[in-house]
């Protein structure tokens, strides 16, 4: 046999940037999504408020009329999860919590929601009733009212059962500007509980992977948790819910917005063994898996303990933990210290890792 390689082609072909058609990776919440937003949306519809890059918009901040006693926050979110019902939740609960949480992440108390439905021809009305009931229960829990709505029907095959888009309005009563751009060196990073539960629960529910996992989605409205945190500290700098792209991608966004480095302690990051096990089997990293009932808080060091204790009293913050610190920007946005003393970088999710889950 010819025993060594001919080296005839030690080269690789030029890449495919996928700028001419949408691929699934554009919906991952990672770099492709960012690029799409930057290249298609921002140049056309960008403005000072949209450019801030948070999950919700702070509006009417400067309105000087007598009615604007509060700052207003507005956010919108579309939900396309498959399957429609999964352990721990369904698309209805998701559509309420997703927007309630986005509004809450600027420190606002959400008050009103609107809901737009795209229904596929043939959808079982009983299923729709169940999903709308679930929206009602979630809205009650969050203490928000759904005050406007819209329904459209598309032909069979043109939608995956149903899609729901919700928009939420909330008011801020907090002295400081909570934003992804407000993290400061010295701040402490807190996460409100275990990571990756939602993504793994949805994946297991699809049954495509031939595994079942006793894990429920963490979908929850976090507005009460946020209000309880705000009540104990005036030094909460950043709040964000690590949905698509998971903890790693969300922290990269924050570090980028705030121009800082975030250093995490790997062993302090709470992950359920069942989620860790499923991720091992599937080759996923739980730090990139979506959550729907978790938040990241970046807070002043002196208040971290109070805030952590306040969080742990709320049922949605029982497993809250301090997982890292903010530093002056050094070599990378997000670094992870392993238990063994080595360090690695956590990058932004680049393409599609999972079928759509939120």
């Amino acid at each position: 046999m010819t025993n060594y390689p001919s080296m005839e082609s030690p080269n690789c072909p030029t890449p495919l940037p996928h700028s001419d058609r949408i691929v699934m990776g554009h919906g991952s919440g990672g770099l492709l999504t960012n690029r799409l937003v930057k290249q298609v949306f921002m140049p056309r519809i960008g403005n000072a408020i949209l450019d801030t890059g948070d999950d919700a918009a702070l509006i009417l901040d400067n309105l000087k009329n007598s009615y604007a006693v509060h700052k207003l926050v507005l956010s919108t979110d579309s939900h396309v999860v498959s399957p429609l019902i999964f352990p721990g939740g369904d698309i209805g609960r998701l559509s309420i919590c997703g927007t309630v949480n986005d509004v809450s992440m600027l420190g606002a108390a959400p008050l009103y929601l609107t809901a737009g439905f795209i229904l596929e021809e043939g959808l079982d009305v009983k299923l729709l009733e169940k999903i709308v009931d679930s929206m009602h229960i979630a809205a009650e829990e969050a203490g928000v009212s759904i005050v406007a709505g819209d329904t459209k029907v598309v032909q069979r095959g043109k939608a995956d059962g149903l899609y729901i888009t919700t928009t939420g309005l909330g008011v801020v009563n907090y002295p400081n500007n909570i934003s992804g751009a407000s993290a400061c060196p010295g701040d402490i990073v807190i996460v409100s509980g275990t990571l990756g539960d939602h993504g793994i629960a949805v994946l297991a529910a699809r049954g495509e992977l031939g595994f079942s996992a006793e894990v429920k989605s963490d979908i929850a409205p976090l507005n009460h948790l946020v209000q309880e945190m705000i009540a104990v500290s005036k030094h909460i700098h950043v709040l964000r819910d690590p949905t698509r792209g998971g903890l790693a991608t969300t922290l990269n966004e924050i570090a980028h917005q705030s121009r800082v480095s975030i250093i995490l302690d790997e062993k302090a990051i709470p992950i359920k063994p069942v989620v860790a096990g499923a991720c091992e089997m599937l080759g996923f990293d739980p730090l990139y898996i979506a959550n729907e009932g978790k938040l990241i808080a970046i807070v002043a060091k002196e208040d971290a303990t109070y805030i952590l204790k306040a969080m742990q009293k709320n049922p949605y913050g029982i497993d809250a933990a301090i997982i890292g610190e903010v530093h002056e920007y050094s070599s990378a946005e997000v670094l992870l210290k392993t238990e063994y003393g080595s360090t690695r970088i956590l990058n932004t999710l680049s393409g599609e890792i999972l079928p759509r889950i939120c």
């Binding site: 060594y4 390689p5 080269n11 890449p15 492709l32 091992e280 070599s331 063994y340």
Partner: protein, 365 residues
């Protein structure tokens, strides 16, 4: 045992590291064959913890990376045909062919489905009798049994609409190729544990003997890898050249006899081109003639495709352990996971992707 935390236990890991520090007296170059091992090394930063005189180089064991551009082009051509449902492991969708990738075909209307088991492809074939279902059967020895079992299943179900595009490659010929290369620097191997769980390690005995090189069958957890390194270093320091097994919880010398006999019944050895490396004689498998009807290359007329590689990246040198990913001028600048120049940056097992993902761009280690 949960097999999740035990092999990552910090105290045990520190213990093995200490032993490696104690026994190593000179510079040694060790290649981990498998891309899964490369990723563990990067994920846990194991190379940062080793003595500076132990150099790890990353082997060709990433099936996505080494799948030849001809086969990618054939996959793209088949996937674009009307009436075809093309099924593949997810990574392959992003690997660029000469002009295109499978993602583009899907975005343009091709029916391409990501599956996690070849048996899902057979299920799709049963559910769609009026369509041709093709599965992209890539991989090393590890994936062979499951991939070809799908053919047996399709045959027993009498399915005439199922075929596989075979890109199966074997580790031992690649080891010969590396060791015979005039540029070879490798002095010891961590053999790929999962490959050996199927094939055993009897095939490696003559290699260790012929080239005077220690080979240690090694797993994928931090403790497995460090233990494998410790055993290779020990042999190098003692001038012994044996095959040892550091993954005995899964691997025996004989391997999985049933899987090997299925392989023998259904496949024959053939020459295969490795992307970025070139032709390695008898380094792959193809379906025997009696299974020709399940061979997608023969079912669809795609034999005459001529690929075009454009000279940009150094994946070939990386796959042979001659260069490291960060030594490529395009690494992390022109070439990133979302804008890959080569398959080594695409695959989750690729060395460039491991370097990028775990932060070797900025740390420049």
């Amino acid at each position: 045992m949960k097999y999740l935390s035990e092999f990552r236990e910090a105290n045990l890991i520190r213990g093995v590291l200490e032993q490696i520090h104690q026994i190593s007296t000179q510079h040694w170059v060790i290649m981990e064959i498998c891309g899964g091992q490369t990723h563990s090394i990067m994920r846990y930063g194991l190379d940062q913890l080793l003595p500076q005189n132990i150099e790890l180089v990353h082997g060709p064991g990433c099936p996505v990376c080494v799948t030849s551009i001809e086969l990618i082009d054939k996959a793209i051509a088949i996937a674009a045909l009307p009436g075809v449902i093309f099924t593949s492991y997810g990574d392959m969708l992003r690997v660029p062919g000469s002009h295109n990738d499978l993602y583009s075909i899907r975005a343009n209307g091709g029916d391409i489905r990501v599956i996690y088991s070849p048996l899902d492809a057979v299920r799709i074939a049963r559910e769609n009798p009026d369509k041709q279902i093709v599965f992209f059967a890539i991989g090393f020895e590890t994936t062979v049994p499951a991939n070809i079992t799908s053919v047996l299943l399709a045959k027993s179900l009498g399915l005439s609409n199922y075929s596989i595009l075979v890109s199966q490659v074997r580790v031992p010929p690649a080891m010969h190729a590396i060791l015979n290369s005039p540029n070879n620097r490798v002095q010891g191997f961590l053999a790929a544990g999962h490959v050996c769980s199927v094939m055993g390690y009897w095939e490696y005995l003559p290699i260790a003997e012929k080239y005077h090189i220690p080979i240690v069958v090694t797993g994928f957890e931090p403790l497995d890898i460090l233990n494998g390194i410790r055993m290779v270093v020990e042999q190098l320091e003692n001038r012994t050249y044996k095959v040892e097994n550091a993954y005995s919880r899964l691997v025996t010398e004989q391997g999985n006899i049933a899987a090997q006999s299925t392989i023998e019944n259904m496949l024959e050895e053939c020459d295969r081109k490795w992307r970025g490396i070139g032709l390695i004689s008898l380094s792959g498998w193809r379906l025997k003639d009696e299974f020709a009807e399940f061979d997608a290359e023969r079912r669809f007329s795609v034999e005459s495709i001529t690929p075009e590689e454009s000279p940009v990246c150094i994946a070939g040198l990386i796959l042979q352990g001659i260069k490291k990913p960060h030594e490529c001028p395009a690494f992390a600048s022109m070439c990133t996971p979302e804008h890959p120049l080569g398959a080594t940056m695409v695959s989750s097992e690729g060395a460039c992707s491991a370097y990028y993902k775990y932060g070797r761009k900025a740390m420049a280690i």
